[in-house]
Each structure stands twice: as C-alpha cells, then as structure tokens.
Symmetry: C2
Subunit: 467 residues, 2 copies
C-alpha cells in the first residue's frame, strides 16, 4: 500500500446505502453539499466526496469509520472548511464526516482553567459561552474555525506569541482510530510523563491518523487590562527589527502582527480603515495588570522610537479593538479582492527571528522576478509570515509563476533553519516541501502512518508523502 | 514479538568483541562500571548491562545501534543516572550507551534565544557556559541531569509552572533510530505545522524508540529581577489553597513548591536550615522587571495573609537563593536519610489543581493505613506532587506496603482526572498504572513501538506494556 486507489463504484454505492440507512437525512449526497465539503479557503481544485455524513456522537463517528475501514473507503473530517492547503479535497472520493453537529461544550472547569469540547465547537462559540466565567481561549487563527480542525492542523495565529499554539494548549483528546475504536489521550493534569505523547501526535496530523472528536483545552483568565496599539514605519526592515528587539528583550506581547505597505493598502481599502497610511505597520496587543501593560507599552514605545516608528494609535475600547483585529483578520480577503479579477493565495513560512528580515526580503525578491503582486502579513513575533500572492486564476502562466515562487519561498525558509509551514499545514500542496525539510524523518512519519492506518483510509494523499 | 528474551551468550560475546574492536577502551565490561550503569536513583534492583560504550559522535551511536539491531541485543541509553523509575535497569542485559562524552554545546543563537547541545550536556553545564550571553535554560528537575535524559523522560521540575516542561522547550532533535539511521526532527523555527510532531513523540519515550543525541533548546533572558521567598503555614490545606488561588488568578510564579511538615523537618535537619519551623511551607520565586516582581509579591502576600501564612522570608541575593533551592533540591536526599537505616522512594502524581488538596489528603490517608512515614514535596503550581515513602529496605513487608501504597496513590490521582506520573515517567514501575490511565490508547502506543522498533531492542521492557 503506497498510494490510494479510488474504491470501486459498487463498494462506494453499498457504503452510501448503509450510511443512508443508519443516518437518514444526515447522510447527504446532493452535489451542492458535496461541493461545499470538497475544499477549504485555498485553491479550489475541488475533489468531491461521495457522501457527507453529520454524526452527533463519538459512537456514530466510530461506526462510520469502521464501515469505511471494512470497505476500504476514504474518510475525510470536516470542521468549518477554512483550511488552506487542500486538506479537504477528496482526491479519491469517499466519505466526508462533517463534525458541525458535535458542537457541545461538555465541561468547563473554571477553577482548573480547562474545558472539554466536542470537535465541532468553534473558537468564537467557545469564547461566547464561557464569557461569564471570566476565562477565554486565546488561540485565534483568524477564521472562526472549529476546535477540532484547529487541533488537526496544529493551528495558531495572532495570540500564539504569548499563549502558544494548539500544541501547547491541548491537554487531551478523544480520537476515533482508523479501525473505529474510541480512545482518550492525555488527562486533565497540566503535565504528564505517562507513555508516548499521543496527544501531540494527533495534533497536526490533518485527519490522516484518526478523527479528533473531543478536545480538552487550557483556558486563561481574561486579563485585567487589554490594550491594542498600531505603529507605522517608513521601512519594512525597521518594523521587523522592532519585532526582533522586542522578542529578544522578552517583552510578553500578546499579539504583534506585521502588514507591509501593499497589505496595508489592501486592508485600508477592504476594511475602510481611516487615518492610516499604506506603510509597513505593526498591530500590537498587550495583556496584563494595568501597571504591567503600562510598563510593556513604555518599553515598546522606546524600541519603536529607535526605529523611526510613528506615534502609537491606541484601541483600548473593546469595539475599537474588535474593528482593528477584524481588519487584520480580513487581510486574507483584502488580498483576495485587491486586484479585480485576481485571487490570492497565502504561503506560510516560519524562520528563526534573527532571519525574519532576510527571509521576507528574499521572498519579495522572488516575487519581483515575476509580474505578480504580493503582500506580506504575519505573526512576526514567532518569525511566522505569509506572502499573499495575487494572480489571475485564468492565466495559466501566472498561476504557475505563483506556485513556483511559493515553493521557492518555502525552500528559502528551510535554508534559514525554518519551516515550510508555521501554521497552515502540509495538505496536498507542500508534500515536496516536507521532504525537503525533514529528509529521512519523513520515513519515520510514513512508518507511523502505515502502522496506525494500514488501509490508508484516513484522508489519503495528504500530509505524508507515501513514496 | 511481545516480550524480549535475553540474547544468547554467543551473540552478546560477539557484539562485545566487535564493540571493543571499534571503541577500544571506550567499550567497558568491568563490573563496577556496569553496576554504576545498571540503575538510577530509585530502587536499586540492578540488572547489569553486558558492556558500556562511550561514543563521541552521532555516527558512533548509529554504528552501535546498527550492530545491536543486527544481533538483536538490547540498547539502553544512559545520561547521568538520575532517573527514578528503573529506566536504566538492563532487564535482558545488552549494551548501555553512555552519552557523557557527547557533552558539547554545538551552537548558541543568542539573538534567537535558542541553542543546540549534544545529549550528554548537563543543565548546569549549559547554564554555566551561556552565562555571559544573559540567557538561561530554566528547566530544573533538581538533579544535574543530562539534557538528553531530561528529553527522554519529558522532565520538568521547579520552573515548569512558568516556563513549561521539556516538551514545550525543545525545538528539535537528532535521533538515532533503531535501525541506525540519524534523523533530525523539528527546525529552529518557533512553531511548525510540517507533518507529524516526531519531536514530541521522542520526548518522553524513555529510550524505547531511538536514542536522542542532540537537542535544539529554547533559552530565556535572565530576568531583571529574581526574588525568592518562603512562607509557612499551620495547616497543609491552607498552603495548598494559596497555590490554587494563585494559579486561578494567573499570577506568573516562576516557582511555587510545597513541603509538608515532615518534609520540612527532614530538610531542616539535612540542609541545616535555620529559623524555619517544621511546618507546611511554600518556597516561591518571582521573575520579571523590578516593578512586575514587586506587583506579584504584593498579590501573593495578600493571598497568603488570607490563609494565615507567616511573614515572608526573602532570599534576593544569589547566594541566599542558591542555599534555599539547594535545600529544596536535596529534599529527596533529606527524605532518604530521615530515618536511620531506612530509604525512601518518591511517587509522582499530578492532578487538576482544584483536586490537589483532596489528592494529597487521600495520599496521606493511604500511608496512614501502614506503619510507614511519608513526606510531601511538590511542584504544586502544576498540581504535581511527590509522596516520599520512608521504609526499611530489609523489611519485605514494609517494602510491599510502600509499593502498594504508591500504586494506590497513582490510582487516586487517575481517578481525579490526573496522571500516574507528572515527570518521573513509567520505566518499569508504572506499567500497570499506564494501562489504568490510558486504557485502549496503550494499544496505539504499542503499535507505534512495534512499527518503529520491530526487533524491540530499544530499552526493552520499559515504558509501554507489551502485552
């Protein structure tokens, strides 16, 4: 077993019949629903699943997986459809398991700062439902993704520089294994040395080792004071150097986001931001006690002054902060609509912070070799940045230029000691980059995949190159 | 392949000959060296390896493992011999790989707050060698363990409440696989979504999946201010409730350690501490800017006052702090020598913080059923505590009582949503507890073990129950 083959039409038809029998109207074969479930927010080269099933319990998920395993039919888990690297494309057809009906918050342990949710709960839903406890869940990839999807892709986003990624914020999981068993990983303890760290193995496995159905998450107290600020620069390198200095000094920024002049131009237009120039810009957020936030802001002002930054614009009221961060979150859509008729796709690289300025410059130089426009946006406190490449999807040459440049940017990041993806994952688009980054270690990943999913039914063709 | 069998004497003799040929005086068969390498600091039911080899490079480690894999001879990695759960006992003889000669710091990237070390570098050596950079590595399990050993056991200790465990502080590894290949996991980027998280799989695998030979570690800036304080209480439950409150309020303690009245008595005697009573005691440390540390201390003083804590005794000078933390680190030895002729062993449990007081009380009640003495010491900010059980090793009944009580304490912690080990690992002593804690998930661990080490040569009989 190296590469999957599409199952026979008879096998699929018989599985669909069985699922219809078990799930009734919750097993859907309409084209529109299958199309909706065939892609994320990245490139839309859709591959349709044969059926979409909406289970409501761990046992129902297990029964679907068991059936698919017996019939050797692919299984693809679906959260909210916001992934970016083709994770959802049904390369060989099969059964899409939509987890959106598993959207219960099962347990909130306010006194222990943790909770247990079903995989279909979204991050915004969780934060709305726990608001009265004075706690929040910080991980914020921008999209209102499901917590199952965020776990499966090892998501992170704007708050990761302070609170870590999904990897650091999951205490345990319930997982349906490829043979349809329901297992639990981790515990509610904050740390454990009990056996292999299965939690971290499933986190980021992109649905290729099992289906995550429940997640035990860490929560945090809402800070006494949250203060957001924006600072603009004439030169991109100055903005980047501010970030590098802040990180080296250990200033505990909750968020520090960079937008270059093109991205700011796009965001000003898309989100109707007023009073900002289309210049390299840092969006920042500070969390803590009043005194501690004030101290952090003073430190940051002193650093930005050294690099010619503008005066700070503060957004301390919740509604002002929401507008600011919505504009940041909409940067992807601002990029998509920047040039009429064009679309954009966002590469995702992460490098050691000292190489960030060099890596961004090299990425821009790659794009400058083409006729394309690009914009930079990133979670730069972690050394993580995205190059949004705007191209005309009807122009094959532009598309090829965009893909070649993206591959080259991944290569540059790897060459600087970094990774081809800080948070978007491998999916189908970065299988070659994974090999380049990890060499023989990919064999170990493949051995694990074969051992845990011997029939290769779990999201086949994704994440781990099988040859 | 379920359980290992001791290899034939011919196979062993021939492997020892080959190793002597390749490594000369670095392949040692003397009884004293084999005995030294046959146990950690826990119970000394030594099982001797047949030979101890001292490699100096990744390639030498790979050549030893390759030879052992071909001859189906066990391989046990050895750092400084400070593990506690029988990890080093050569149950089936074999080759012990002592990594102490691989003690070079390969790279310090001060501007990125990371470094790369060989597995034999100890944490104290690392901190001494990087002192001039203004950086430090915080993870501190007490013993001056090797960083390879700390990685392999997912160690943590006193600073974990603020800085995380080894799991959170390793960016990547070099690992020699059971078939003798040298692979690299992770990158120098702060985060990555590239493929399966092999780093976290090897961290905590206790030498059963491969030999960790290099580690890429996060470093931190030495805080502007470090302040240590001690506060004493009349009631253990009050001390525990202070910890619970501090954690729930999110006070970023760098260290918060609990010693009960018996442990304090032992420590006062062993470390000649002056001016302390044999009462439940919290050892604390605060890190940050001057203002931030002052703010944290004020918050903590207010909490301890609510629970009847004594005035604070501060240790701000480095030499005073060193004395205080040395006493804390020597708690294990203080326990060992508390009763003449007795030895002690430390169980290790970790529970959600809200259950900490209950769990400690239940653990003490278990010991009260016996004729044994116990003392409590723990990294309580994480809900992690150790019960040191003092018993007469020549009294079979006492030993059995101690072991039964320890197993029962693990069961209690698991029942409270916690884990049978927060930081000491499974080794040979907690195989049953692992099954109790993880149920069917142990099958998944076993499948991984079999896939990655099909000949079961890597530290056989440890960590994962094979049946």
């Amino acid at each position: 077993m190296l590469v999957f083959e599409r199952p026979s039409e008879t096998a699929v038809a018989s599985a669909v019949d069985a699922l219809r029998k078990d799930f009734g109207e919750r097993a859907v074969t309409s084209h529109s629903v299958r199309e909706h479930h065939s892609h994320g927010e990245g490139m839309r080269d859709a591959g349709l699943p044969d059926v979409v099933v909406f289970p409501e319990t761990n046992e129902e998920v297990a029964s679907i997986v068991k059936l698919c395993n017996q019939a050797r039919i692919p299984v693809i888990a679906f959260g909210t459809g916001t992934s970016l690297e083709g994770h959802l494309k049904a390369l060989y057809g099969g059964v899409c398991i939509d987890l959106s009906r598993m959207n219960n918050i099962l347990q909130v342990n306010a006194e222990d700062l943790d909770c247990r949710v079903q995989a279909g709960v979204t991050r915004e839903q969780l934060n709305a439902e726990i608001r009265s406890t004075g706690l929040f869940f910080p991980i914020d990839p921008g999209a209102n993704a499901s917590l199952g999807g965020m776990s499966a892709t090892r998501a992170s986003g704007t708050n990761a520089v302070r609170y870590g990624t999904m990897k650091e914020n999951i205490l345990g999981l319930t997982v349906v294994t490829p043979d349809g068993r329901i297992i639990k990983t981790g515990t509610r303890a904050r740390k454990s040395s009990a056996g292999y760290d299965l939690t971290r193995l499933y986190v980021g496995s992109e649905g290729t080792l099992g289906i995550i159905t429940e997640i035990q998450l860490k929560l945090y107290g809402v800070p006494e004071r949250i203060s957001a600020a924006v600072c603009q620069f004439d030169e991109l390198s100055n903005a980047v150097n501010v970030v590098i200095t802040a990180m080296q000094l250990g200033i505990p920024m909750a968020r520090i986001e960079l937008l270059d002049e093109v991205q700011m131009d796009a965001c000003i237009k898309y989100s109707k931001l007023e009073g900002f120039a289309a210049k390299p810009t840092l969006f920042m957020e500070f969390h803590g006690t009043d005194a501690y936030v004030a101290e952090q802001i003073e430190q940051m002002k002193s650093i930005t002054a050294d690099y010619g930054g503008s005066d700070y614009r503060f957004a301390d009221k919740p509604e002002d902060r929401t507008k600011l961060w919505k504009a940041r979150h909409d940067a992807y859509w601002a990029g998509m609509s920047y040039k009429p008729g064009n679309q954009a796709f966002a590469t995702d690289s992460c490098v050691p912070i000292s190489r960030l300025a060099d890596c961004i410059a090299a990425a821009k130089a790659e794009i400058a070799k083409t006729s394309l426009t690009c914009m930079i946006v990133g979670h730069v406190g972690d050394g993580n940045f995205h190059v949004q490449i705007s191209f005309n999807p009807d122009n094959a040459q532009e598309r090829e230029q965009a893909e070649t440049a993206a591959a080259q940017i991944a290569r540059i990041a790897i060459g600087m000691g970094g990774t081809c993806t800080g948070e978007h994952g491998i999916g189908i688009h970065k299988l070659d980059a994974l090999k380049e980054e990890h060499g023989e270690a990919v064999d170990v990943m493949r051995t694990i995949k074969k051992a845990l999913d011997p029939n290769n039914i779990m999201n086949p063709g994704k994440t781990i190159p099988m040859n």
